[in-house]
Amino acid sequence: MKKNWPLWEVFVRSKNGLEHRHFGSLHAADADMALENARDVYTRRNEGVSIWVVESKHITASNPEHNGELFEPAQDKVYRHPTFYNLPDEIKHM
């Protein structure tokens, strides 16, 4: 019998008020073990207050080769940025 432990992605919230951030990955037999291993591998110095683990195979990732088409819709929409709008100089904060 030879079955490798699956790969998990680890996300850590470093303190309350901040989002979880991808920290890395590790192998574990199940979710509980993944959490414990994540604690030992990625938070040995109080780097986190909350951990998420998700099996890597459940992540759907965009393909960078299609970045052109995927992100094209946002490319020509300068009017989504504040600098697009002309205001009189007297207006200091807006």
């Binding site: 030879k2 037999a29 199940d30 073990m33 040995r44 960078p64």
Partner: protein, 318 residues
């Protein structure tokens, strides 16, 4: 893909690296880039893991609780470093098992320094001070490397390394303030670890055929000789400060280059150790292979348990 297309992609790729764009796992990359990175990152990971052995050997014999918790934490960190690096290598398409297989079969190398024995407690001082010191110089240079997962692992590792070196130097400091016997022990450890530490930076520049390519990919930011010089210049005053003597009769300050000149390195010894004939190569490999083989039933049992739990959950859900 036609040859023309590949050439095009390669040019775009090299241009990205020049403008400091990071390469991420799913990006297109030349096959040579992938293979070189798999080799370097996995060898780096192996070095961290094998590096746990000489120090692990002293945990139970640490002279005080303070030293024991520090050494334990350091060795655990090295295990962590290995894990960061293995998972960085895995993003390039090699499995963890393949990497272990390469290590255990002797196909993959690891840093030669770990094939030297740790004979006395002072070696824990010398290793932290010199070996981690040399590793830090290599690793800081890699924090800006072009492959994203490798660079991120390096940043995390560098943050953790500084305590490793400090606890080692502190051990040497304390011994050098101690009895004559303790001083001798510290000096002896320095004598044995000095030259192998200089070898950690790799062959001389004119005998290091991959330097140009590695510089281009930012796998190297400085040449082996430059890094070695940096190490000597920073370490000599540290030795003087605690009254230890660098075991090199040719060592001399050179005012013109604002650095130390040092004697010739015994490269025959270096290649002997790389080829597997160092004092501990066999012992280190045996320890790794044993750990892997004797742990197999634990890995299998954990997997079987996880599958059973999963089945149970699925049945309950019906």
């Amino acid at each position: 893909m036609s040859e023309e297309q590949i050439k095009n992609l390669e040019e775009q790729f090299e241009a990205r690296i020049v403008r400091d764009d990071k390469i991420e796992p799913k990006d297109w990359m030349p096959e040579k880039y992938r293979q070189t990175h798999i080799r370097q990152i996995s060898q780096h990971a192996h070095s961290e893991i094998v590096g746990m052995l000489p120090e692990g050997n002293w945990i139970t014999r640490a002279p005080s609780l303070r030293r024991k918790v520090a050494l334990l934490a350091k060795v655990q960190d090295e295990g962590g470093h290995g894990l960061y690096l293995y998972s960085a290598a895995e993003t390039l398409g090699i499995s963890r098992d393949e990497m272990f297989e390469q290590l255990h079969s002797g196909k993959a190398k690891y840093s030669s320094i770990f094939n030297y024995p740790a004979l006395t407690w002072a070696d824990m001082g010398a290793i932290g001070w010199l070996v981690d010191g040399a590793a830090i110089i290599n690793q800081v240079a890699l924090c800006g490397t072009s492959y994203g997962p490798y660079a991120r692992a390096m940043v995390r590792i560098c943050k953790e390394e500084s305590f490793h070196q400090r606890q080692g130097y502190e051990i040497m400091l304390k011994l050098s303030e101690g009895t004559q016997e303790q001083k001798d022990m510290a000096q002896d450890a320095l004598n044995r670890f000095w030259w192998p530490s200089l070898m950690m930076f790799g062959p001389k520049d004119d005998e290091s055929p991959h330097t140009a390519q590695s510089m281009k990919w930012k796998l190297k930011r400085k040449t082996n000789d430059d890094l070695r010089q940096q190490f000597v210049d920073q370490t000599v005053p540290q030795a003087e400060l605690i009254g230890l003597t660098i075991p090199d009769p040719d060592l001399k300050w050179n005012e013109d280059k604002k650095g130390y000149d040092f004697g010739p390195i015994d490269w025959d010894e270096f290649w002997q150790v790389v080829k597997g004939h160092g004092p501990c190569n066999k012992e280190r490999m045996k320890a790794r292979v044993n750990a892997w083989e004797e742990g197999a039933w634990v890995r299998d049992a954990a997997m079987a348990y996880a599958e059973k739990q999963q089945e149970r959950k699925e049945k309950q859900a019906v």
